[in-house]
């Protein structure tokens, strides 16, 4: 009824509309506007689009619109074609290349154009420059693509070459590598650089939950499916719809769940736990493991068909000991980052300290290196980090790792994983465990207080803290 009223109103005011200077109106907009006829030839464009594309509107009338905006819309399902055919409006993110050879990220809104008589007249494209939004998004999320994966070694450069390829397709990716090599970071980088980046990236650790819980976590459940299932739960597959599901520690997945995952990969649909209605999903799967899946297949612990289904694109991340060229780069990066976070005035590492750090084996890889740097920057009260500021466990670990280096089963690496999460928290069987950070800090304050004869101003200066921070810490550790 309202539509009919509008139509009658428009018809009665046709003379008024025809007198409106529509182009002047559009010229005042800060969005690019392009009108094309049913054959997609340019009818008109506004001034903002002239600036965006670098073309003068008088010279482009009658030319195929795609030659003017040079977008990637055709590779994104051709929304202009769809708008012309189905008369539906749609929005799509993509890019254009302008006359200055610059690629600009754009949000396209495409709407069909219809005359009052109902006759199709073409389509209207609105182009919104989202460069700033993209920049902001990159800053908020910390990285875009591979920017925050650090490395210049040959092995890492090979990975960087593969990343855009992995991002361009929807094929399953299997990321392998020892613990702490950056598998999660690579998975997220692939997602962020892919067409699915606007949709969720959901990580599920297959080794962290018992089988029954993991099934419900992945596929969801319906109310009453089991004791305690008071509400419907959508599950991670459904939550990741349109985006990427990252299954880490896939080697720890039980055989029954492997079958279910395989079915989802093949059919793109599944039954939630206790449900009788199939759920369809469009999810890209990225998996990671520190285990040798080939060996697990041989031992019958991992399904061969699932292995081949997941292993379409394989990325193997090298351990830190095979990335000698990257060691100093990573060390400097973590040092600068942590120093800035803690607002410390440390200038760097002593030569002895660097020798010790570079000769260490790093079974916990990049993660371990970062934790060692964090510990050292926290503990160091002066301007230079010396060997005695490194975790005391480092030397013992070096000995332990070198003695067991010949027996590096993945399970050994796994058992060390949690221990490596923070230096100085190795299991007591491996090395003598020092106290936590709280104890270290307490001892540090005590030592500084003793050295300064209890003078708080001098103690604060020695520790590189303000007096108020020292006061807070003294109360916190019960040293008052």
């Amino acid at each position: 009824m309202a539509k009919e009223k509008t139509r009658v109103f428009l018809q009665s005011n046709t003379s008024l509309l025809s007198k409106l200077d529509l182009i002047s109106l559009l010229d005042s907009m800060t969005l690019g506007v392009l009108f094309v006829d049913p054959a997609r030839r340019v009818i008109a464009m506004n001034r903002f689009l002239e600036a965006l594309t670098g073309y003068n509107r008088e010279e482009v009338v009658g030319i195929h619109g795609e030659n003017i905006i040079r977008s990637n819309l055709l590779t994104l399902g051709d929304p202009v074609g769809k708008a012309l055919e189905s008369e539906k409006s749609m929005t799509q993110e993509g890019d254009i290349i302008n006359q200055s050879r610059k690629k600009i990220p754009i949000r396209f809104s495409v709407s069909p154009l219809k005359l009052i008589t109902g006759k199709k007249a073409g389509a209207m494209l609105i182009l919104e420059d989202i460069s700033l939004l993209k920049d902001l998004d990159n800053k908020v999320h910390g990285f875009s693509g591979k920017e925050h994966i650090i490395g210049q070694s040959l092995k890492m450069l090979e990975i960087f070459e593969l990343l855009p390829i992995a991002a361009r397709t929807d094929a399953s990716v299997l990321i392998t590598g020892e613990t702490g090599t950056g598998k999660d970071l690579v998975a997220e980088a692939i997602h962020k650089a892919s067409q699915r980046s606007r949709y969720p990236f959901i990580k599920v650790n297959c080794g962290a939950l018992p089988e029954s819980l993991l099934e419900s976590e992945l596929f969801g459940h319906v109310r009453g499916a089991f004791t305690g299932a008071d509400n419907d739960k959508p599950g991670m597959f459904r939550l990741a719809h349109g985006g990427t599901l990252f299954l880490t520690e896939i080697g720890d997945l039980s055989l029954p769940l492997q079958v279910k995952i395989l079915t989802v990969l093949d059919d793109k649909e599944f039954f939630p736990v206790g449900g009788s209605k199939k759920v369809s999903v469009d999810v890209r799967i990225i998996t990671a493991t520190h285990r040798d899946l080939g060996k697990l297949v041989k031992h019958g612990k991992f399904r061969e068909d699932l292995f081949y289904r997941l292993n379409v694109l394989r990325l193997h991340l090298p351990p830190l000991r095979e990335r000698e060229e990257d060691f100093r780069l990573l060390l400097d990066h973590f040092f600068r980052e942590i120093r800035a976070n803690l607002n410390k005035k440390i200038k760097g590492f002593s030569d002895a300290c660097l020798t010790l750090l570079s000769s260490y084996n790093y079974p916990g890889n990049v993660r371990e290196l970062r934790n060692i740097v964090e510990y050292a920057v926290n503990v160091c009260p002066n301007e230079t980090i010396r060997p005695d500021h490194l975790p005391k466990a480092l030397l013992s670990m070096e000995q332990a790792s070198s003695s067991s280096s010949e027996n590096q089963e993945t399970t050994d690496i796994e058992s060390m994983e949690t221990a490596m999460a923070f230096p100085g928290t190795m299991p007591s069987s491996a090395i003598p465990a020092p106290g936590g950070w709280g104890d270290v800090e307490r001892a540090m304050i005590m030592k500084a207080l003793t050295e300064t004869g209890g003078n708080r101003t001098n103690t604060a200066a020695l520790l590189g803290w303000s007096r108020s921070k020292l006061w807070r810490k003294i109360i916190q550790h019960g040293l008052k």
Partner: protein, 117 residues
């Protein structure tokens, strides 16, 4: 001289990096030598076309929109690029042989209403 044109149907393709078809023509003494080859590429990649151009010893590339990275790379490899060309690729080739093809040109036959050069 070998000329490579990125094409889409009968026209110069609007985007270098999204081109899936190219034409390679050999020009000798101001005339096309032999039959120009049309190659269907296995995928769309600016890097792959750059690699192909080097492998084929191309002297001139005629294309639509191209990213500066690809343009500078080709320039560094001493391959001349005439970009932003709009219109039928046969016209583009004709103008290139006559040495009158300019970047950003809208060729005859590109428009049904617009100004034509």
């Amino acid at each position: 001289m070998k000329i490579l044109i990125t094409i889409h149907k009968n026209e110069v393709a609007s985007r270098f990096d999204l081109t899936s078809e190219i034409l390679i023509a050999e020009v000798d003494a101001g005339e096309i030598a032999g039959e120009p080859r049309i190659i269907l590429l296995p995928g769309t990649s600016g890097e792959d076309i750059c690699g192909l151009a080097i492998k084929e010893n191309i002297s001139l590339i005629i294309c639509g929109g191209i990213e500066d990275t690809h343009y500078q790379y080709l320039k560094w490899k001493k391959i001349k690029v005439v970009d932003g060309v709009i219109g039928p690729y046969e016209q583009a080739l004709k103008f290139a042989i006559a040495n009158t093809l300019k970047p950003g040109v809208i060729l005859p036959g590109a428009s049904i209403y617009g100004k034509q050069s």
